[in-house]
């Protein structure tokens, strides 16, 4: 089964290059260029087929996720085995193209404004340097930096690793978020010592796609927030200071974790309660932000899924099931655009339906199960 998972990862990594922006040329090697062009033709010309393939791959990933979760003890008698698979999957997906979002290009261009042009990214918009080649494939270039100073400072590493080469910079940024992903998996393992918790987070297709494929920086914010809050709970003074500092690094990465600040004043909360409240608060923000931003971005689910992964499994099975159903619904939001090529028209209603249906199906299934148990 895990071989199938790796095959799917490899398939995603290769086919993701079909989603390449028409203005972006990653290679001058003729064979590779021709291969990417033909993939692109399928993606952009055969949109319903592409959406169908994505839908199938997504369902397969969720099926595998469920299978591994249920058969975890049989499949991975030793945790080391699982880690090996995960590291291989990460190494494959790091080389994929960020096919579902342009955010990574925005990170790259903002880092370029800061470190190459030495301009303040909170004052100068990328579009104000019109001869920059990144503008051809960057969206939201008419905005100043959208992220906090922690993120801007951290982007120096992937920017420097990229050394001006676009493809290398893409991979460097993805490597950076992949480190965040692995750190989060390790943190979950270190705290819970339960493989079910690690699997709930690491094999969730939403986490895999939005972190390892699209390279969203939300994972970095969440690693810092979880580490910070957990250290803050410790008794030693220096642990608490470090925790406080790390937590605020998270707040200044993207800002969503600002909502967790009041929790710093409730030190008597148990770890379990802390994680539950954090997850619920971030879920609320996720739901509340949607009407403001006019869109429910799937990668925002990383916020509450990260904290949910620390909850003990049998006790919070219901919450986890809801999270998984919602993850599927959120990932399906990519399908209408993939099929149509535009966001407007029936797009908004279709995206809402795509999100609601899996959650509703899960709700009905759960209600029937309860009724059967009562009978």
């Amino acid at each position: 089964m895990m071989y199938l998972f790796l095959v799917l990862c490899l398939f995603i990594a290769i086919t993701s290059y079909g989603f390449i922006d028409p203005n972006l040329i990653l290679t001058s090697v003729p064979i590779v260029h021709r291969f990417i062009s033909s993939l692109s033709n399928v993606v952009y010309q055969q949109r319903p087929v592409t959406a169908g393939i994505f839908f199938t791959v997504l369902l397969l990933l969720f099926f595998l996720f469920r299978h591994v979760f249920i058969n975890q003890k049989r499949l991975f008698p030793k945790p080391v085995l699982f880690w090996k698979w995960i590291v291989i999957a990460v190494l494959i997906l790091v080389f994929s193209y960020p096919m579902l979002s342009y955010d990574l290009f925005n990170y790259m261009t903002t880092a370029k404004v800061t470190y190459t042009y030495r301009e303040n990214p909170y004052v100068v918009m990328p579009v104000e340097i019109p001869n920059d080649i990144n503008l051809a494939f960057t969206r939201a270039a008419n905005k100043v930096a959208l992220y906090g100073p922690t993120w801007i400072l951290m982007t120096w590493f992937p920017h420097a690793l990229g050394a001006g080469n676009i493809w290398r910079t893409i991979i460097a940024f993805k490597l950076f978020t992949a480190i965040g992903y692995l750190s989060m998996c390790y943190l979950i393992w270190r705290i819970t010592k339960n493989m079910k918790n690690v699997i709930f987070f690491s094999l969730n297709p939403l986490i895999i796609i939005e972190t390892l494929v699209s390279g969203h920086n939300d994972i970095i914010m969440m690693v810092l927030a979880c580490t910070g809050l957990l250290l803050w709970k410790k008794k030693k003074f220096w642990n608490r200071i470090t925790g406080f500092f790390i937590f605020f690094l998270s707040v200044f990465t993207k800002g969503a974790t600002l909502v967790l600040v009041p929790l710093l004043f409730f030190r008597q909360l148990t770890k379990e309660r802390l994680m539950l409240i954090s997850s619920c608060l971030l879920f609320l923000i996720f739901i509340m932000v949607a009407p403001i931003r006019e869109e429910l971005y799937p990668w925002y689910a990383i916020w509450f899924l990260s904290f949910a992964a620390f909850l003990p499994y049998p006790k919070y099975a219901l919450f986890w099931q809801f999270c998984i159903a919602l993850s599927l619904g959120l990932e399906l939001r990519h399908v209408p655009y993939m099929a149509m090529g535009y966001y407007e028209g029936p797009g908004p209603i279709l995206r809402t339906m795509m999100t609601v249906i899996p959650v509703a199906v899960w709700g009905i299934w759960y209600a029937i199960r309860i009724k059967n148990n009562k009978d």
Partner: protein, 181 residues
């Protein structure tokens, strides 16, 4: 009757075509005046201006910084002159001219760093035109000189037109330099 019908059809057709074309273009607008010189809180605004000098690092940012300040001080000068506050107005005008003078220096710096400044140059040219118009109006509306006599202090001779002319000359010089580019 047939002719009227033809005219009606053609006019509807033309209106459908031209209604899609937009001739709307936002003209360069100066900022709304905030705390004015003479206000007790004005020094805070000046401190923020100084902090921003550090915050707006980079040649493009510096260009925007000096343009923004020049705009802001010009609005102050115009408003103060309208209220016959010639001493404060002349000081604000002097500051506006000084900030505008800094713009081409930063543009050259940005260009030497390989940054395309086309968009900002267009914006600055538009700003220069607006500055020039306002300064010319100010020259018409205000006296050539004014003797400012505060209580218990020596009087000051304010050469208002000289200051305005200096502003016009600076703006014109910058505009000419930008057009050459």
């Amino acid at each position: 009757m047939r002719g009227i019908l033809h005219c009606l059809v053609i006019s509807i057709f033309l209106s459908l075509i031209f209604s899609h074309l937009s001739c709307v273009r936002a003209a360069y607008t100066l900022p709304y005046p905030s705390y004015m010189p003479g206000n007790r809180l004005y020094f805070i605004s000046r401190i923020i201006d100084q902090i921003n000098r550090w915050w707006y690092f980079g040649s493009v940012a510096q260009t925007k910084y000096h343009l923004g300040l020049s705009d802001k001080y010009l609005v102050e000068a115009k408003t103060l002159y309208e209220y016959k506050q010639y001493l404060l107005g002349t000081d604000a005008l002097r500051r506006s001219t000084k900030e505008f003078h800094e713009i081409p220096i930063n543009i050259k710096r940005a260009q030497s760093e390989g940054k395309d400044m086309t968009l900002l140059i267009v914006k600055i040219s538009e700003s220069a035109e607006v500055h020039k118009t306002i300064l010319m109006d100010m020259r018409v509306d205000n006296p050539e000189t004014f003797q400012w006599t505060p209580e218990k202090e020596a009087s000051t001779d304010l050469k208002i037109h000289d200051e305005i002319n200096n502003g016009i000359a600076t703006v014109t010089k910058v505009l000419e330099e930008l057009i050459k580019q």
